[in-house]
Amino acid sequence: MHGWFPENISTFGADVDGVFYLIYYIVGFWFLLTQAAIFYFVIRFRRRAGQPAAYIRGDTWKQLSWILIPAAIVLVLDLGIDAAGARVWEEIKTRVPAGDVHLEINAKQFEWMITYPGADDQLGTADDFIVNSELHVPVDKDVRITLKSNDVVHSFFLPNVRLKQDVVPGRAIDVWFKVTKPGTYELACSELCGFGHYTMRGTFIVQTPEEYDRWVRAHSANA
């Protein structure tokens, strides 16, 4: 299973994968147990001469405990899974920090228009600049992005960050992440947004803070 996930480069990505594996092992165990029971019963209780079926209605508490006790264990495990997931969800989605870097993305068919704050680190000033479908962020910094859409619903998906958020016209939705490894990755749209949906790809470039600053200054000087 490990080999199938894209490489994780965010601080919270391992927590998402952790909840995945927690569920994987819990339900995997129950799944195998249940399948084993089915296959065992099918073989063990196939029709044999002189061996009539038992008359078991399952209408007493004693008999019902065969299924209700396993179901109660399922319930307890479910609540445990909920608790583990709730903590991770809150870390990623509920508590969005102000961010060391704040960007704005306007999604439109079929591009990500990314607004950078320029040299003054402030959005909404004259030195802001827009780059299409090329997301630059510094490594080891809290990055906050305000997501907006100009037309239809898109979905902002960074597979390596384990982050996804629908981008809804009429709303400004904040997401955050902190990445730990420089490199070039991909930004995807994961909500059907029209005939060019599959082309709505962006490059996701994680740079050292120095490189990032240099890149921002170079562009805002042009602006």
Binding site: F20, I38, F41, L68, P159, H197
Partner: protein, 580 residues
């Protein structure tokens, strides 16, 4: 009117061809009509899956057997991205609304519900006929949308606005209007059907047939009808609003005019999640009828299953936002909906455990219906446990909108509609057509389907874990998806085998009508009332109206003469012997 009067004068059985097979009011004929419609639409849905799969495995290469599709849908055998989106949309719409529902509710429900409760027909036979012809109209409208300028609906089967709202975003004008009209007609059809199901099961039960003696299939159809009728209203409202947005310029879902796209998502999924259970319950019902007959045992925990069904039905109304965790709703809503979602696994665990325990101590035989019922259990479990991943909001952040979700819901719906549905069709075919289906072809069909189905959808989980998005025309655009290309190719080969695996069924289904072995009234030695009627039952079903003395699953009862004890047999043989 004169025709109707003539029919009434002549009584049952002397109707013209048209009144007998086309505009019939007989619930059994209508059930078969629904079944035929569902199976025909499944061919369209399957064909669209084939084109989608080919494109994903070998993007932008000519697709075999599609050279007849004209431009602009295909260019020299290559798929246009717009047409790809149309096929994705239509595949979902067709399979859920025009295959699953017609087969399981319209087909099995119509055929079985009246006869299982010992009635001579539905409470409102003409309404029943009208509901069939309404969905038939809906199907014609839906299919015709492929042929209008701009093509069919292309905004996904969920039709999220603004994409589905403003025609400039898709280039599809009439296609989406017709799609909405087809959905509205389909909903009205099943609303009429629901009224009939409820009235018939409540008011027309045979003497002695109390609610807790009803076969579980009837309980499942009833619960499904109630869930559908309670949940569909908001979506009908939504569909009308979307149609108004598209035609007269209202802005219910357009933020530019003060509307909100998320409103649609709430309306859609408030219906959409109960809808999953509307489809699921009748499929489970078929399996619940088949298991005891071929285990020769009572179903384990009859009442517990009924209570679990009702609990899951109620819970299904408070889980819808799990489809919207990352849609932009308040993040504080995620955890409550995560809890309700994962809780719904408990009543289903109870039902599945009850089915498995039913096998314990049985005397199992494995004709085709039983194979499909067991196949349902084995495969549905995969769908059930993978739902836990999606239901966890934290995991959903990553796997939402990926092939993990696609694999999950195919593992719930395919077992329900096809394993459950085929179990039902092979089981009740002798009652429907008076002839047995061929066992060898049935077993070939089962094994081919079971193996290739798993080969298609297990790898899809891996695609999803790899981050592969749904509804992507060409995954090769993304570098991180390129290494997954062999998986896509494997899936497509398996999918073609899965489609071809249905040929033995098609041959068997039609050939057995003429050349099948003639069926006795009760070929499986089963207890429920439909088996006391002749095979096939005449218009009016029973020669004498049945009276019911016991529950439906008295198999291998101690002291009984045989290992089955029909619901309408007055005095158990053993009791008579004691008395004598």
């Amino acid at each position: 009117m004169s025709q109707v009067a003539a029919v009434e004068q002549h009584g049952h059985g002397e109707l013209s061809f048209w009144r007998r097979y086309i505009f019939s009011v007989d619930h059994k004929v209508i059930g078969k009509q629904y079944l035929t419609l569902g199976l025909l639409m499944a061919l369209v849905g399957g064909a669209s899956a084939y084109v989608i799969r080919w494109q994903l495995a070998w993007p932008e290469t000519p697709i075999p057997l599609t050279s007849w599709v004209p431009e602009p849908s295909m260019y020299e055998g290559q798929l246009d991205p717009n047409f790809y989106n149309q096929l994705v949309t239509m595949h979902g719409t067709i399979m859920v609304f025009f295959v699953a529902m017609p087969i399981l509710l319209g087909g099995l429900g119509n055929f079985l519900l009246p006869i299982m409760v010992g009635a001579d027909d539905m409470a409102f036979p003409r309404l029943n006929m009208m509901s069939f012809w309404t969905i038939c109209t809906a199907a014609v409208v839906l299919i015709s949308s492929f042929f209008v300028p701009g093509g069919a609906a292309s905004a996904g089967w969920t039709g999220y606005p603004p994409l589905s709202d403003n025609p400039t975003y898709t280039g599809v004008y009439w296609g989406i209007n017709l799609w909405l009209i087809a959905l509205a007609l389909e909903f009205s059809s099943f609303l009429m059907g629901g009224v009939n199901f409820l009235t018939t099961a409540i008011n027309m039960r045979a003497p002695g047939l109390s609610f807790f003696r009803l076969p579980l299939m009837v309980w499942m159809q009833l619960t499904a009808a109630v869930l559908f009728m309670l949940s569909v209203g908001p979506l009908i409202g939504g569909a009308v609003m979307l149609l108004l947005d598209r035609t007269i310029g209202t802005t219910f879902f357009l933020p530019g005019g003060g509307g909100d796209p998320l409103l649609w998502q709430h309306l859609f999924w408030f219906f959409g999640h109960p809808e999953v259970y509307v489809v699921l319950l009748p499929g489970v019902g078929a399996v619940l009828e088949v298991l005891p007959v071929f285990a020769r045992k009572p179903i384990f925990g009859y009442r517990t299953i009924i209570y679990s069904t009702i609990i899951s039905g109620v819970l299904s109304f408070v889980v819808w936002a799990h489809h919207m965790f990352i849609a932009g709703i308040d993040p504080r809503l995620a955890t409550p909906f995560s809890i309700t979602t994962i809780l719904i696994s408990v009543p289903f665990a109870v039902m599945v455990f009850a089915m498995i325990v039913t096998l314990w101590g049985g005397s199992l035989t494995f004709p085709t219906p039983m194979l499909f019922a067991l196949g349902f259990l084995v495969t549905f479990l995969v769908g059930g446990v993978t739902g836990i991943f999606n239901g966890s909001a934290a995991v959903d952040i990553y796997i939402h909108g990926t092939y993990f979700v696609v694999a999950h819901f195919h593992y719930t719906l395919f077992p329900t509609v096809f394993f459950g549905g085929f179990a039902g069709i092979y089981f009740w075919y002798p009652k429907m057509f008076g002839r047995m289906m061929n066992e060898t072809l049935g077993k070939v069909h089962f094994w081919l389907t079971a193996i290739s189905f798993n080969l298609v959808f297990i790898p899809m989980f891996l695609l999803g874990i790899g981050g592969h998005m749904r509804r992507i025309y060409n995954p090769m655009q993304y570098e991180f998806l390129r290494p997954l290309a062999p998986v896509n190719q494997f899936i497509t080969v398996a999918a073609v085998i899965l489609l071809l695996s249905q040929l033995p069924f098609i041959v068997n289904f039609f050939a057995s009508m003429w050349w099948g072995k003639e069926a006795a009234a009760n070929p499986w030695r089963a207890n429920t009332l439909e088996w006391t009627a002749p095979s096939p039952p005449p218009h009016g079903n029973f020669e004498t109206a049945p009276t019911v003395y016991r529950g439906p699953y008295e198999y291998s009862a101690p002291g009984a003469e045989n290992d089955w004890l029909p619901q309408d047999r007055p005095i158990p043989a053993a009791a008579a012997a004691v008395r004598g």
